[in-house]
Symmetry: D2
Amino acid sequence: MRIALLGAGRIGRLHAELLAGLTDAEGLFIADIDGERAKAVASEVGATAVPDSLEAIERADASVIAAPTDAHATLIRRSLARGIPTFCEKPLAASLEETIDLVRLIDASDVPVQVGFQRRFDPAYQEARRLVTNGGLGIIYLIRLAGHDPAPPHEAYIPTSGGIFRDFSIHDFDALRYLTASEVTQVYADGSVRGFPVFAKYRDVDTAVATLRLADGTLAVLTAARHDPLGYDVRTELFGSRDSVAIGLGQRTPLRSLEPDVPSPVGPLWSDFLIRFRDAYRAELAEFLRVARGGAPSPCTASDGLAALRVAEAADRSLHEHRVVMLDEIPF
Amino acid sequence: MRIALLGAGRIGRLHAELLAGLTDAEGLFIADIDGERAKAVASEVGATAVPDSLEAIERADASVIAAPTDAHATLIRRSLARGIPTFCEKPLAASLEETIDLVRLIDASDVPVQVGFQRRFDPAYQEARRLVTNGGLGIIYLIRLAGHDPAPPHEAYIPTSGGIFRDFSIHDFDALRYLTASEVTQVYADGSVRGFPVFAKYRDVDTAVATLRLADGTLAVLTAARHDPLGYDVRTELFGSRDSVAIGLGQRTPLRSLEPDVPSPVGPLWSDFLIRFRDAYRAELAEFLRVARGGAPSPCTASDGLAALRVAEAADRSLHEHRVVMLDEIPF
Amino acid sequence: MRIALLGAGRIGRLHAELLAGLTDAEGLFIADIDGERAKAVASEVGATAVPDSLEAIERADASVIAAPTDAHATLIRRSLARGIPTFCEKPLAASLEETIDLVRLIDASDVPVQVGFQRRFDPAYQEARRLVTNGGLGIIYLIRLAGHDPAPPHEAYIPTSGGIFRDFSIHDFDALRYLTASEVTQVYADGSVRGFPVFAKYRDVDTAVATLRLADGTLAVLTAARHDPLGYDVRTELFGSRDSVAIGLGQRTPLRSLEPDVPSPVGPLWSDFLIRFRDAYRAELAEFLRVARGGAPSPCTASDGLAALRVAEAADRSLHEHRVVMLDEIPF
Amino acid sequence: MRIALLGAGRIGRLHAELLAGLTDAEGLFIADIDGERAKAVASEVGATAVPDSLEAIERADASVIAAPTDAHATLIRRSLARGIPTFCEKPLAASLEETIDLVRLIDASDVPVQVGFQRRFDPAYQEARRLVTNGGLGIIYLIRLAGHDPAPPHEAYIPTSGGIFRDFSIHDFDALRYLTASEVTQVYADGSVRGFPVFAKYRDVDTAVATLRLADGTLAVLTAARHDPLGYDVRTELFGSRDSVAIGLGQRTPLRSLEPDVPSPVGPLWSDFLIRFRDAYRAELAEFLRVARGGAPSPCTASDGLAALRVAEAADRSLHEHRVVMLDEIPF
């Protein structure tokens, strides 16, 4: 199995390292718009640097796309043209319209495409989904989602990000669908610029909240922050008629209890997503290799990518229009 | 210091016990609409049962009102007429209009009135407020509030409760004001009947969510549930530019982590508000005795009671009208 | 053709008179809950009074229902049970739920049912519809609807009316559908109690406004008033890319121009709906007789009745919830 | 009295002609960014062309500003600096922020400023206001406003216009304030592109509707269109408990009745605002000359201009955010 890894930036480097451990490194063809970066990563993991993505795709049996967002759609189209299984980091494309077009194209093809929502491969998320599915939680009352990043991105990234909901909370929107196997029907969102005025320059915010209603009446709340001084805080709590459970709550959670009898955590807190979800990323790529070999259907399809994006679109619209937005208002 | 304790139900009995430990039990005059209940509680704690509230107020130097909500306003008016310091469990009155009238009456008098928001006397809440005030948290980004009750009230109580926000979340609305020393300016709320259809009979819900915006742009989310199978879960998390802290998070929190490395809690979880906040109730009454002796101003005034109620009103209106409600829309 | 006329009140008496002129008066069986009233009207027009609606229906080939709203559904069911063509004044039933049930029942039967939206038989409305249909107006830009009644109903009627939109503006909602052959997709409505505080007692208003959006983007505004000192003012203006036309504008319009060069109207202004739409009522009943004889399909079906009611429901919800309401939110 | 007329375009030319008839034409100094245009207009009316607005202001005792919108603020500041009474066509400035600044500056000066809402000088508007003020209408129930322009502006103008509400309906917003002496408190607006897709390019619309609520509960509806094939249709109807009256309704109204007994209008319909409001413009300028001579206070102050603009801002926000907007949300 020869793999084209397209993009050798922060997340591309992680994928290179993980793929090198999961498959034959020599068959890993790495391309990046910055050729030197491709060479450096390839040499680190024993893979092969190639001059451009076209050549990488040409020589490979499967693609893994970790390039900047604005290149995703083009690279997916190229992989589809070659008919090779494709993994792509979220989002599939830079706009809703382009995403809708891509999903149609993918659905009309026979090529499996997997979108990179790595939380689906984290054991605690998987256990929570199991408890929802097998009735271990009973009727779901409420879901509380938190996604707090350790530090804001560089300014250059902000205008390309699509805003906090499309860029960051989209992982929580996918998690909500994954955990409940249900769809969001309405969203109310609000946001604020609290610590980093640069976000206001781009009509974006550095903190945000949302309430979400699912098709069956289950309610969820979400918070998102671009800065958390203690680390990377991604948690989900599910409250049901039979049990109350938490994902991401433990010794490494960057949250300090003020209760008198709680000891301080020993050992390092979760500091970023690469550390927090490293095992999930590995499991995700391992699953993609199974998909690429024809051994499994895509565990996170292009339609899943679109569905999460539509929730993000609704949240963004709610934030800017100061009103409740129904998912029905968002094209698909 | 002779005290009239008006009401000997669940919360009245707790107050009787705590007051008996804080002051001379013989000077504690207990009245209840059910005379037998007053006698039983009085005999338990060594206090004096009296036939009715008028006599209790007549003989006392201060009042503690723990009667049903619909009697609050009348009992406060009687205490004011006697000019004696008065403690009253929330809410001050059964409607917003009556509360506004009472606040005007109280403001025009010299009699100190203290409203029973006991969380203000919990050490973790006090520490969190200290951290906000002294800058220990830096800029506040987000606040997350959870109030999940172990079991729903009896059906007879539901139509008198004013709904989940006025009855239950009002403690969180007061806590939000107490912690931040800031005012809520807008609310969006939603709710659902998930486990207990009886709430629908009274246009009430058994689970609810809200997002709140404070005057300075701080955002908060809140969840409320009438049932939690693991116990009484009241938590608040505050995220700021310098620290991330939690109230109510520890060994007794009724929440089960799904992370693989987290041990199960040893010892009992918090099961109800009397256990969770027993110390806070004692501290609250101790403070009221100081207030009654003229040694301190009211730590939670009638205006504070009104302010929290107005947030609850806005949340209730939002829930029923499916739209964002500005606090300016609520009379005061 | 023998006809059961059920109800001999204000509108029933008009129908009696018109039917007596359109068909054989002896075959007109009039029943009313007030037997004396039935006799009086029957003797006026040369018809036959019968003791109750069951007997009238039993002896007739078609029913005309002009009874109070709360009897409509029962009388329709009885006519359907007999299988005879049925005309019913709006509304079909007292609630949306019951209307939905009735529409299903009617659709499942072969019995023609005609709902009484008489404006569909007014020449100016018919000409306007023709101009929309044949392109005489071009692209429709805007529609302006006014429905101003000369005087408010008796207090006893108000709580049974369903509110100003279901009771009164429903004629304009039907007219909007009839004129454009298009459906309303969203409504924003507001209302006020200006002259008659009695409406507030029943959560109703005496003046109201609405904006409506049709499926193709056409916009409409509507005003409704329970009192107009000059008379009965029902007008509709349609603005298109080729023409700008008005219904209800002329010498009898109860509206006084302040322009210096406009003479005062000569002759009487329209004073009430019986005068304004008398010819339309006659044409409506004449058409029903054609329908009853099998000569034409119903010109205003039960589904049309439901569709107009759903717009009224949306307007009422908007009024009470202070927000835009999508028609999709209303059951059907 | 020497007057600087700044701007010699369409409206400037009208002002030149009217001013020449009202005062000594030789003392009328006309400047325009297009010097030839200034000369042509000056020679037409016997006035004096000057090379630039600075010189015109320097030589005059009063300014009349009829330049493009983006020059208004600068020209007002220059007139204020010279301390001469100033008339300015609406709007005062190109943005809300700049308008707020200007109003402060004007209020702090002693220089009278008059904003050009010419409808205040139309006899029918004045009579309607008189009837509101003296009780001739009784309690006001409803107000219906229509503003339909004969043809859309050139494309180049659209992006500078501020959108249909700021550019066009602002005259109706001012009229509403003038007629009722009351303030708008909330607005819901919607809009559509029906005939001229070019408006969509600039996030503008060619037809619009709004409902407005005044401080005392009076309700109003408004329609606005950029095209009316029959002419220029500006009408206002006021419905009260004592009378129902219309402005702009008569032989020249570009609206065709479909009622059978209404004759077609004889003579020309109103074709544009210059014809419809020519007399009002003359009366407006005559009044400004009185103001400039110190004989009267400004009949339409900068604060009036700001107040109408704030309603337009609220309507524009409502249109784009699909929700009700409170006037309180708009800065002032």
